[in-house]
């Protein structure tokens, strides 16, 4: 049944064998690294630009306005124009700031998000590295970003930045737990941490449908906690422009600010991609039990389209509540995590373990 879905492994495999015939073993590895690097950088930049455009359009719809509609068709080139403006802006250096750390911080943030995107399965057979501990790896590298934020806040020599960075530290460290536990719920169901394995395990139904109510609870917890982890509203306390002007990136300008900005959007995509992979079946088409004809029709939609549809569905939800909800206060934020989400996800995972032991899931 799965054979109708195009496997990108055919394409990548043929490129691989061609390179082998040209360069030999060592040369192939180097050439593939360069190729994958260029592909990812291009994808990263285009995705960042598109997500910024998308956010502006989505928030415009929510706020009764048009959004960008002057530069290019439907304002599509607006973000490009903004990027050029940011590139040309002066890089202001702050007196008595720690120059080295100040310049380092944006790179740490952007590298963290870059590393996390490497393990994402975009389509059948299209994944840069398929680690056997994929979920664990994504969790680990995506939480590196907080180091960059803390450094940025500390080295800016600004009180607003420092408060923003401290808030961000408290927030990310707390919500990391809930994200981990909610992902662990599905890892328990799937019995593997490998992202491709988790996708394969959803061939006959996505975990959010197969996993009874606990999977839905885990999905909701994941949405809340991951939004908090990427510092987006209503959890954008680290930036909180009405309280801290711009939080940890108050003192950054030009392209260094753009790095933070870009990393924020890419992080949003990563969160959505992981959520889509783990809960909504990744690139797996929508299948219903033994409805073979229906399943066959669904298989005709390319796997990449399925993946991006699901990822952008989650992105839309995240954007939706950013533009609707007010911001939480720091103590309420920590209360929500430690008193509600954490115990709930712990209980949830025990229930799931029980379900898996008894073999009650589909």
């Amino acid at each position: 049944m799965q054979s109708t879905i195009y496997n990108f492994h055919d394409l990548t495999g043929s490129i691989d064998s061609t390179l082998h015939s040209w360069f030999g073993n060592t040369g192939t590895v180097i050439a593939e690294m360069v190729l994958v690097g260029i592909a990812f950088l291009t994808f990263y930049a285009l995705l960042g630009l598109f997500l910024v455009y998308l956010e502006r359009k989505v928030c415009a719809v929510i706020q009764n306005r048009y959004g960008p509609n002057r530069v290019g068709p439907m304002g599509l080139l607006q973000t490009v124009a903004d990027l050029i403006k940011l590139l040309m802006k002066e890089l202001i250096s702050i007196k008595r700031s720690d120059k080295f750390l100040f310049n380092l911080a944006p790179f740490i943030v952007i590298i963290a998000s870059f590393m996390a995107i490497a393990a994402t399965p975009f389509a059948k057979g299209l994944q840069a590295v398929d680690l056997n501990i994929g979920v664990f790896y994504v969790m680990a590298v995506s939480s590196l970003g907080v180091v960059g934020i803390l450094i940025a806040g500390w080295s800016s020599n600004s009180k607003y930045s420092l408060i923003g960075a401290m808030r961000s530290g408290a927030q990310i460290v707390s919500y990391e737990l809930s994200v981990g536990l909610s992902l662990l719920a599905i890892v328990t169901f799937a019995g593997t941490m490998q992202l491709s394995g988790i996708v394969e395990s959803q061939a006959d139904g996505w975990w959010i449908f197969k996993g009874h109510i606990p999977a839905i609870v885990a999905f909701i917890i994941y949405l809340i906690a991951s939004t908090a982890e990427i510092n987006r509203g209503p959890f954008d306390l680290a930036e909180a422009e009405s309280e801290l002007t711009a939080g940890f990136h108050t003192e950054y300008s030009g392209i260094k600010f753009a790095f933070f900005f870009l990393a924020e959007y890419i992080n949003m995509f990563i969160v959505a991609a992981i959520g889509a992979t783990v809960f909504l079946g990744g690139w797996m088409p929508f299948h219903i039990g033994s409805w073979d004809a229906f399943n066959h029709v669904m298989d005709f939609i390319p796997s990449m389209v399925w993946f991006f549809l699901k990822a952008f569905f989650i992105i839309y939800i995240i954007m939706w509540f950013k533009w609707t909800f007010p911001r939480l206060r720091i103590d309420q934020l920590l209360t929500l995590e430690w008193k509600y989400l954490m115990p709930l996800s712990l209980i949830n995972i025990i229930i799931i373990a029980f379900i898996v032991l008894m073999g009650w899931h589909f």
Partner: protein
């Protein structure tokens, strides 16, 4: 600047973590500077510093004739421009013992209430923004625009409309005025529940607002906090009820009082006041008498020597004018009692001990307009 000067002058000798909110800060709504002392996220105390937009309006008034003063009062609380104008006009009219036509009284009252709705709408926009709900801004401004269009059609200006003049109005209202106001009321009665759906019922909003910035009735009276902020603490201070002017004695309306004294109570007062304002306008809009838009006034207005006082209820509280005249065409001395000045200085009491985010919520709920504080 050497390190020593920085240590002594800017940081100070104490170990307090002092942060300057403003004069340029997104949520001080103008050039207000709050010197906030923090302990982690908690506010220990705060000192408001005013004067960044001081223009010496009271001194300027001493060199201006009474019709000119009207235009200066616009520039104080620019969101209640009409009420400020009215205060000076009423004061001058009382001093000269001029009886203005009924039509003028009715129109002034309607415009007061329209202006109050517009002001509360903008407050609602900004309050949502302060709490991080960015969409409120566009919903509020969408509806406020309609009021401003009505203003523009009748007086040619949208914000600072100096439409009042001692003895009446500058000119008559536009023929479309009544119809457009009625259309707006029908429209806004449908749209106002949207505000509640978007913000009031939100769990996060209620958590942010309830129990935050508690102000007792005694404290409100002690600091002279008037207007919706005072009424949120149960301080019955609505001058439209207690000292009616213009046509307020001819309409039925309730004074909105909440006893909780927290940010949410202040929020609810303003939301309910928008409904009350619409009721007031509806009672008046069809019954505007037709006896001229101005009383007969002398070309040069000279107040008899003496002291004159008039207060009105603006969108933010009690605005009072005190004129000392020596019989000339300019006042000897003029003093404005602006509501925001009193409302600002209660902030230390309310925000101390809370979080930074509470401070923002409190300053938003007091609805400060900075040019009104500094004058």
């Amino acid at each position: 600047m050497s390190e020593e000067i920085i240590k002594d002058v800017i940081i100070g000798e104490s170990d307090d973590y002092i942060i300057n909110m403003g004069p340029q800060h997104p949520s001080t709504h103008g050039v207000l500077r709050l010197e906030v002392c923090l302990q982690g996220e908690t506010v220990k105390y705060l000192i408001p510093h005013v004067g960044y937009i001081h223009r010496g309006i009271e001194k300027m008034c001493e060199a201006s004739s009474y019709p000119q003063i009207i235009h200066l009062t616009d520039r104080m609380d620019y969101l209640s421009a009409h009420m400020n104008n009215e205060a000076v006009c009423l004061c001058v009219e009382n001093a000269m013992q001029v009886e203005v036509p009924e039509r003028v009284k009715y129109i002034r009252t309607i415009l007061d209430e329209l202006n109050r709705i517009a002001s509360h709408q903008l407050w609602w926009c900004a309050f949502g923004m302060d709490l991080g709900a960015l969409t409120t801004f566009f919903y509020g401004l969408r509806d406020r625009e309609l009021i401003l269009d009505i203003f523009e059609e009748s007086f040619g200006s949208r914000l600072l409309h100096s439409f009042n003049t001692p003895g009446g109005l500058m000119h008559d209202i536009h023929p479309n005025f009544q119809k457009r106001v009625k259309d707006f009321i029908t429209y806004f009665r449908k749209k106002l529940p949207e505000y509640d759906q978007l913000l009031t019922g939100n769990v996060i909003f209620q958590q942010r607002a309830k129990g935050v910035g508690l102000m007792s009735k005694e404290k409100a009276i002690a600091y002279g906090v008037t207007g919706p902020s005072g009424r949120g603490s149960g301080f019955s201070c609505d001058l439209r009820k207690h000292a009616p002017y213009s046509a307020y004695d001819k309409v039925q309306f309730n004074e909105i009082l909440y006893n909780e004294g927290d940010t949410f109570a202040r929020y609810k007062v303003r939301m309910d006041e928008m409904w009350e304002s619409m009721n007031i306008i509806e009672q008046l809009i069809d019954n505007i008498p037709d006896d001229g838009f101005t009383a007969k006034m002398k070309p040069i207005i000279k107040l008899p020597a003496g002291e004159y006082f008039q207060r009105v209820e603006t969108a933010r509280g009690e605005f009072a004018v005190y004129i000392v005249s020596d019989g000339n065409k300019t006042p000897y001395r003029i003093k404005f009692r602006s509501p925001n000045f009193s409302n600002l200085f209660v902030m230390n009491e309310l925000a101390s001990g809370g979080k930074i985010a509470d401070l923002i919520a409190i300053s938003g709920s007091l609805d400060l307009v900075i040019p009104d504080i500094d004058r």
